[in-house]
Symmetry: C2
Subunit: 210 residues, 2 copies
DNA sequence: GTCTATAGTTCGATAGAC
DNA sequence: GTCTATCGAACTATAGAC
């Protein structure tokens, strides 16, 4: 099972001792994740989330104030996890070509491996409350800026040949993001295969000569 | 205003003389298009579609049997329009490099220019009735096959260097499709600019040396 | 913290007058 | 073909017992 906890390990450790309460929240998040990914936020009833978590409809509201709160926690965790993946890849090297290869590979692999969470992250932003939408939008901008800066650096040093670093960054991220739209586990290539191949495509995009 | 009629010109000419009846259907389609693109199929009430078309909630059902029928007509028209764009570009030349450049350019430009329709087409497939989903899925497969065959031909002749034509075709289409997710009219580059630049990116993807 | 029961609202779709 | 009025179902969220 694809757990939301696996997708966002930074939220796993807890100071509070009640492990059962946290398990209940995780079960609700998992249920909401699968439902939102399958039918969308507005196409999902809280009753169905509760049923999938083996709880009564009312029990949901002990742990989350509204249905939108469930979406926001999923969206925030997903955005932070994606940012972490990009940040770790960027930090793993200092040369733009190695950095970009790692980013494209890991960003793409993440969107394949966690395609259900990624679809919620990418397609349900309009259902977030305005304040919540602002929060995740700032994470999105940070990711784009990180990739653009690396491409710009590589272009300035002559390592890449890119007419428009902003557009190239957008294109590289688009490649990875759109994988979540069509990838399904167990059909065709593995998430790792796609990540490896897309990394090479990304380097081609920026005119890297290897 | 971005009209659905503009987006799918093949449905404009009519044999029946009642231009007012057709105008009403077009108004409903336009209203549904904007609403579905903004809030999703399940996030849209038929009352809101009716209001945007300056009609009563009941009047919708004179022209469309169900809300899903509205979505299906939008989805079908959108898929057919996208296919037509790809087909026209493919037929416009016989050399794979010219064909692929035209496809990537026009496919991308279409997803930018008609980004509202494209988002409905790409993100609301799960809301279609099973029989309707099958119909549009076959169009999607035809588009993918068309692009893959051109890339395969170019690879066999040594014009392209592609390890995996299927994945390259998916990547080229992904680039265009994902533009609909972030592009908004009047902000940043024009649809044509993006199409032109993405066409060059697509040729880089397939290892074309110009 | 879980449950049953339900309040209060909104939904898709229909009835029937004109 | 349009309207007003409304049906019956489904929805989010809450009340109150245990």
């Amino acid at each position: 099972m694809v757990s939301i906890t696996n997708a966002a390990p930074r939220a796993s450790a807890r100071t509070r001792g009640n492990s059962r309460g946290e398990g209940t929240r995780a079960k609700l998040l998992d249920a909401a994740l699968q439902a939102f990914a399958s039918h969308g936020f507005h196409g999902t009833a809280t009753r169905d989330i509760a049923a999938a978590a083996h709880m009564s409809p009312a029990a949901v509201y002990v742990h989350y104030r509204t249905k939108e709160d469930l979406l926001f926690e999923l969206s925030l965790r997903g955005h932070l996890a994606a940012q972490e993946v990009v940040e770790a890849a960027a930090t793993s090297a200092s040369s733009p070509d190695v950095q970009l290869r790692a980013i494209a590979r890991d960003h793409t692999t993440w969107h394949a491996r966690y395609n259900t969470l990624a679809r919620v992250v990418q397609y349900e932003m309009a259902a977030l409350a305005p304040e919540h939408a602002k929060q995740v939008a700032s994470i999105r901008r940070a990711i784009e800026t990180r990739v653009r800066d690396i491409i710009s650096t590589g272009t300035s040093s002559g390592l890449f040949r890119v007419p428009n670093p902003s557009m190239a960054a957008l294109a590289v991220l688009s490649l990875g993001i759109d994988v979540a739209r069509w990838y399904r586990e167990g059909r065709g290539w593995s998430a790792q295969d796609i990540g490896d191949q897309y990394a090479e495509l990304a380097l081609r995009l920026v005119g890297y000569q290897n």
